[in-house]
Subunit: 181 residues, 2 copies
Amino acid sequence: MRADARTNRARILDAAEAVFAEGGDAASTEEVASRAGVGIATVFRHFPTKPQLLEAVLVGRLERLRDQAAALVDGLEPGSAFFDFFATLVEDAAGKIAIATALSEAGGGAAPEATRASGELRAAVGKLLERAIEAGAVRADVELPEVYALLVGVSRAAVYTALDANVRDRMLAIVFDGLRA
Amino acid sequence: MRADARTNRARILDAAEAVFAEGGDAASTEEVASRAGVGIATVFRHFPTKPQLLEAVLVGRLERLRDQAAALVDGLEPGSAFFDFFATLVEDAAGKIAIATALSEAGGGAAPEATRASGELRAAVGKLLERAIEAGAVRADVELPEVYALLVGVSRAAVYTALDANVRDRMLAIVFDGLRA
DNA sequence: GAATATAGGGAGTCGTCACTCCGGTTGTCG
DNA sequence: CGACAACCGGAGTGACGACTCCCTATATTC
């Protein structure tokens, strides 16, 4: 692969992430191309169909989240590691439709890479949850599926209602209380 | 207004509700028309633009929810009235993209009717919450905005993750615990 | 039951968007 | 530095969806 091809690919991915974060997947490919400073054909050469471009963005996001979660697993406090990850993710999701979509599109489509990445993130969150339960910071009868669902739901709420930070924190506090007591 | 016009209008609204519930607002107007058993032109005569059709569906849903909430206010137990409404709404939202959208689109667009209906629903939920707090079923420091945000979020989670009933109930239980303790 | 306004239907129109074709450009390797 | 392959860009193309035009059909009114 030639050098300019590699940098263009990266530029396209960055632009696509920004564009889809703002406009959702309804945003046009042409918008992505112009934001990346390349022609449309270049976008389609790197990602032959729009779903494939969306998948690439999705996988990037999921892997970054997975790495964040994995890094926190080896951190010090299991309890705050779990809650911090939860809160950070929701905070990041505000204004970024794509993150919420990334979370929930978990293997819904027939995109193998996305399914894999989603599974890995889920596993990383599972580890975080497990440690938090062992440390007594989360109720023992809480399981991964409902935690994941809450993560998805609260993220989407943050995206779709123009939530100011205050309300968002109060909402998180309620959910966290439910996870603890 | 002629009789057939009235029945056609109702048929279109019903069809639109079903179609948009399944496919989201990306579903085509032609699909709505054929499901209603009328021509496309008829749909456009009653609702001159697609946003207006969407708004009409939205207002219908919001008003029905508002009525449900209002009916529960005069019911017997304030605590279970609140939690029942919450649970019922989330249950109904599963598989119906439109309900979740209806909740969150709350005055986002410049649609006056929708804004009004959304405000009325919000007020009805507010009453429900107020009574529940007075009865000691919900913590006193909980306020409407975060409750509404949770309603939106949990509904969307139910829609976008293929949530089975079991996980959905466990998720609700966590949120309810957070609202109580 | 005839006259008339009102409503319906389906074949268009127009714009948009995903995707392609081909002539020009540029990195790379001997 | 020159030649070749890899890459780029932008003007197309085809499909699809929102919306319109106009002729036909039906409800209403006297």
